[in-house]
């Protein structure tokens, strides 16, 4: 079981990384979203192995199930067509890669160096139950929960306002 979990962890990690790489390089939005779902599912597997089953479920339900579906809806509404693919191809030239690649490679190197410095030891072993999480949420983090709910309410109102199709452009600008 232990070895199996090990293998599964690294395998899922590799899948997540690979799927993410594919997601950010796709020319068609729907393809990218599908790879994103793969990446999120792989991360959910890793969450489970790391001892967070509740989060693994939430990752699948909310991230892959709700947020990405939202993206898919938007892609459907945009109805971009084949012209968009050609535009993306023009945009993703070799030269466009250099800057982002250097910056993110530098950041990654720094982060890994930071993580692998000697004092940071220990292993992923603790399992937390949904009950513990619920107690923590409504105990010390109750203020954060309130804030998160306010944030979501604000986002709801904002999205409703921006999304109203009858709204004329001048009203938005005001």
């Amino acid at each position: 079981m232990t070895n199996f979990a090990h293998i599964a962890f690294y395998l899922a990690g590799a899948v997540a990384v690979l799927a993410t790489v594919l997601a950010i390089t796709r020319l068609v939005a729907v393809h990218a979203l599908l790879y994103l779902i793969v990446s999120l599912l792989a991360v959910a597997v890793d969450f489970y192995i790391m001892g967070a089953p509740l989060l693994a479920a939430l990752e699948v339900i909310i991230y892959a199930g709700a947020i990405v579906v939202l993206f898919v809806f938007v892609v459907m509404m945009l109805n971009l067509g084949t012209q968009a693919r050609e535009t993306e191809r023009l945009w993703l030239t070799g030269r466009a890669w250099i800057g982002p690649a250097i910056l993110s490679a530098l950041l990654l190197a720094e982060l890994i160096y930071l993580i692998l410095r000697p004092p940071l030891l220990g292993s992923l072993s603790g399992v937390t139950s949904p009950k513990q999480i619920a107690i923590a949420l409504y105990g010390p983090y109750v203020l954060g929960v309130e804030l998160a709910s306010m944030l979501l309410l604000g986002a709801l109102v904002g999205a409703c306002h921006l999304g109203r199709s009858s709204l004329s452009e001048t009203e938005v600008q005001r």
Binding site: V17, T20, L36, S39, A105, I135, A136, E169
Partner: protein, 102 residues
Amino acid sequence: MTAIPMADGLILGAILFSLGLAGLLLRRNLLFILVSIEIMLNGAGVAFVAAGSRWGQPDGEVLFLFILAAAAAEVSVGLALLLRYFHRRQTLDAESMSETRG
């Protein structure tokens, strides 16, 4: 039995975060920029969960829930704006919006 080192979980988060950053900087399409932000948030979430798992405390997972809430809020407003922008300009090119040039 040897458990998975905490560093490996954190490195996974770091890789995802860096990939998200690369996508953010690389893509000109606003939709992909939003996708990249989701990836970055997810990477940060992985790091939180790994840390929470290392200490056996629920705090990391609580913070992941907050990230989830923030991501949901951000993506709903962001996509609404994106739609409105597309209706006006018929494009999703981030380079086409430079009205805030100083």
